[in-house]
C-alpha cells in the first residue's frame, strides 16, 4: 500500500501524467499518476490518504525543489498537470464530503499588472497542497478582491505583482480588504517584493517562494 502511494508521489513530483505520456523519458511506458490513483482507489485505500501521502506529497517535493532552484517553471507545470489529472478520480469524494479541502484561498495579480505566470505557479502549489484556489485573474481592482471575498468567503487572500510600479498598488488593496475583513490574512508575493515592504503595507505575510506561502496557509489553518 505504501508502495503505490510513494509511486503516486513520484509521478507527481516527476510530472508523469499517465501511461501514454512520453515524459519523463526514463518512465516511458510505465503507469502514471492517473492510472495509479485509480488503482489505489480500487484497492480500497482511503482517498484522503491517496491525496495526502501521494498527490500532495508529490507537489510538496516539487515545491521544495522549486524553492531550492532545483526545479523551474516547466517542472512545476508538468507536476501540476499530473496532479490535476489524478484529481479527476479524487473529486467525487470531495463532492460526497468523504474528504475536505484544507480551506479556500483567493489569488490574483493586482491592478495594473498583467503578469500571471508567478501567480499561476503559486496557485498550483497551493492547490497541490490540498487547498481550494479561486483565481480572480490579472489586473484585479481592490473592489473585485473585496466583492469576490464576500461571495467566496476565503480563508486567506494572496496578491501577486511582478512590477515595481504595480507593487505600489498592493497597499491600497490590502487596506480595502482589511477595511472590510479586518482578520483576513493577506499574503503578498512577486519578484520585486520584500518582507520589509510587505510589513510597511500591513500585509500578513510575504513569501519569496510558493512553498513558503503554502506552509504559512497550513499554519494559519492549524492555529485557527
Amino acid at each position: 500500500m505504501e508502495n503505490i502511494l510513494e509511486k503516486i508521489a513520484l509521478c507527481v513530483e516527476r510530472g508523469k501524467v499517465n501511461k501514454a505520456s512520453l515524459f519523463p523519458a526514463d518512465l516511458k511506458g510505465e503507469e502514471g499518476a492517473d492510472e495509479l490513483t485509480l488503482k489505489a482507489i480500487n484497492s480500497g485505500i482511503h482517498p484522503s490518504e491517496i491525496l495526502n501521502a501521494g498527490l500532495i506529497e508529490g507537489m510538496r517535493r516539487i515545491g521544495e525543489k522549486f524553492r531550492l532552484n532545483k526545479a523551474f517553471v516547466p517542472d512545476v507545470l508538468i507536476s501540476a498537470k499530473a496532479m490535476n489529472t489524478a484529481m479527476i478520480h479524487i473529486k467525487p469524494f470531495f463532492l460526497s464530503n468523504e474528504i475536505k479541502s484544507k480551506g479556500k484561498v483567493l489569488i490574483g495579480t493586482v491592478m495594473g499588472d498583467l503578469h500571471d505566470i508567478g501567480k499561476n505557479i503559486v496557485g498550483m502549489i497551493i492547490r497541490g497542497g490540498g487547498w481550494e484556489v479561486i483565481d480572480v485573474g490579472v489586473d484585479v481592482t481592490p473592489k473585485k478582491f473585496v466583492e469576490t471575498a464576500r461571495t467566496e468567503k476565503p480563508d486567506a487572500i494572496c496578491l501577486s505583482a511582478l512590477l515595481t510600479t504595480t507593487m505600489l498598488n498592493m497597499e491600497n488593496i490590502v487596506t480595502e480588504i482589511k477595511g472590510v475583513f479586518p482578520k483576513m490574512p493577506v499574503l503578498v508575493g512577486g519578484a520585486p517584493l520584500t518582507m520589509e515592504y510587505a510589513k510597511s503595507i500591513n500585509a500578513d505575510f510575504y513569501s519569496p517562494d510558493p512553498q513558503k506561502a503554502l506552509d504559512f496557509l497550513n499554519n494559519i489553518k492549524h492555529t485557527k
Binding site: L68, N69, A71, F72, V73, P74, D75, L77, I78, M111, G112, D113, L114, H115, D116, I117, V138, D139, L163, T164, T165, T166, L168, N169, P192, T194, Y197, S200
Partner: protein, 297 residues
C-alpha cells in the same frame, strides 16, 4: 541591410540606450495603461525618449513596442492594431534619433507559456511575424528580441522575424541567480543551453537583459563567451529596485555603472546599454567610458 554589423565592425564597441518602461512612467504612464498605445495617442511624448537617449550618446535606440504582440495588446482590446502600433513605434524612434543612432525594434515575450496549451506555436508565430514586419516597415535597422526566458518561444519569434524581414536579429534572455550561484532563466535554461539551441535559429547577436544589476551580467556574459562566437549584448537594470519615500528607487547610479563597464567588455560584451531603472545619465556615462576604451584600441 546589415547596418548594425557594419557599425559594430567599425566601432568595435557600441552603446545601446536604457530603460523605456520606467522612463514612460516618469512621463506619466500609469500602471494599467497600455505603454504601446502612447505611440498612437501621445507620439510626441514617446519621441522624447529616443531624443534623450540619442543626445546622451546611445548609438542604438529601442522602440516603444516591447508588448506589441497579440497576447498583451488584446488585454486592452488593441489586437487589431498590432501592425499600426509597431510601425509607429519604429517611426517615432527613427524620427527622434535624427540619423544619429540605429533603431532596434523591441520585441518582448508573449507572457503566455506554450506548454500550458494556452496558445499554439502557429498563433505565436503569426503575432511575432506581424510585429517584426511592422517594425521593419517603420524603419527599424535590426530587431531586439528581449527579456525571453523560454527557448522554444524565442526560436518561434526569431523564425518569424527571419521569415518576414531582412533585419539582423539580437536575442537576449533574462537570468536569475540560483542558490548554487549559477544563472538560469525562469524556465530553467543556462546561457550554455541557450547558445546551443538558439544560435541555430539564425541570430546575429546574443546576450542578456534585465536581471539583477550590471555586475552580475559579467558572469552571464563569460558563460556566453565560452560557447558562442557571436557578438554579445548586455542591457542591464540599474540594480534591484527598492521603495524609498513611497517611490521606486534603483540603487545603481550612473557613476557606479560606469565603473563596471570595463568588466563587461573584458568578459566579452560588445554592445552595452541599460534596462529598467537606467536613464540617459546612465547611458551618457557608459558612452564616456566606451569612448575612452575605443580610443585605446
Amino acid at each position: 541591410m546589415n547596418r548594425l554589423s557594419e557599425l559594430l565592425g567599425i566601432k568595435k564597441l557600441l552603446v545601446c540606450d536604457g530603460a523605456w518602461g520606467t522612463m514612460l512612467q516618469n512621463k506619466g504612464l500609469k500602471p494599467g495603461e497600455c505603454p504601446e498605445l502612447l505611440n498612437l495617442t501621445y507620439p510626441k511624448l514617446v519621441k522624447e525618449i529616443p531624443e534623450a537617449y540619442s543626445k546622451a550618446g546611445a548609438e542604438l535606440v529601442k522602440t516603444n513596442s516591447f508588448g506589441g504582440n497579440k497576447y498583451r495588446l488584446s488585454h486592452y482590446s488593441l489586437e487589431r492594431k498590432i501592425f499600426e502600433i509597431n510601425k509607429t513605434a519604429a517611426e517615432i524612434s527613427k524620427d527622434g534619433v535624427k540619423d544619429k543612432a540605429l533603431i532596434l525594434g523591441s520585441i518582448g515575450p508573449s507572457g503566455v507559456i506554450l506548454m500550458m496549451g494556452d496558445t499554439s506555436e502557429e498563433e505565436m508565430y503569426e503575432t511575432y511575424s506581424i510585429q517584426a514586419s511592422a517594425l521593419e516597415a517603420g524603419g527599424a535597422d535590426a530587431l531586439l528580441i528581449e527579456t525571453f526566458s523560454d527557448i522554444q518561444e524565442a526560436i518561434i519569434a526569431i523564425k518569424a522575424a527571419k521569415d518576414n524581414t531582412n533585419l539582423e536579429i539580437i536575442s537576449t534572455f533574462t537570468f536569475e541567480k540560483t542558490i548554487d550561484g549559477d544563472f538560469k532563466t525562469m524556465m530553467g535554461y543556462t546561457p550554455t543551453q541557450i547558445c546551443e539551441e538558439v544560435e541555430k535559429a539564425g541570430i546575429g547577436y546574443i546576450g542578456t537583459n534585465c536581471g539583477n544589476g550590471f555586475e552580475a551580467m559579467a558572469y552571464i556574459i563569460k558563460e556566453f563567451k565560452e560557447k558562442s562566437e557571436l557578438p554579445l549584448v548586455v542591457n542591464a537594470n540599474a540594480g534591484l529596485p527598492t521603495i524609498r519615500d513611497k517611490g521606486i528607487y534603483y540603487p545603481e547610479t550612473p557613476e557606479y555603472v560606469s565603473s563596471i563597464i570595463s568588466k563587461l567588455v573584458e568578459a566579452g560584451a560588445s554592445i552595452i546599454g541599460g534596462c529598467c531603472g537606467t536613464t540617459p545619465q546612465h547611458i551618457n556615462e557608459i558612452r564616456r567610458v566606451i569612448d575612452i576604451m575605443r580610443s585605446k584600441c
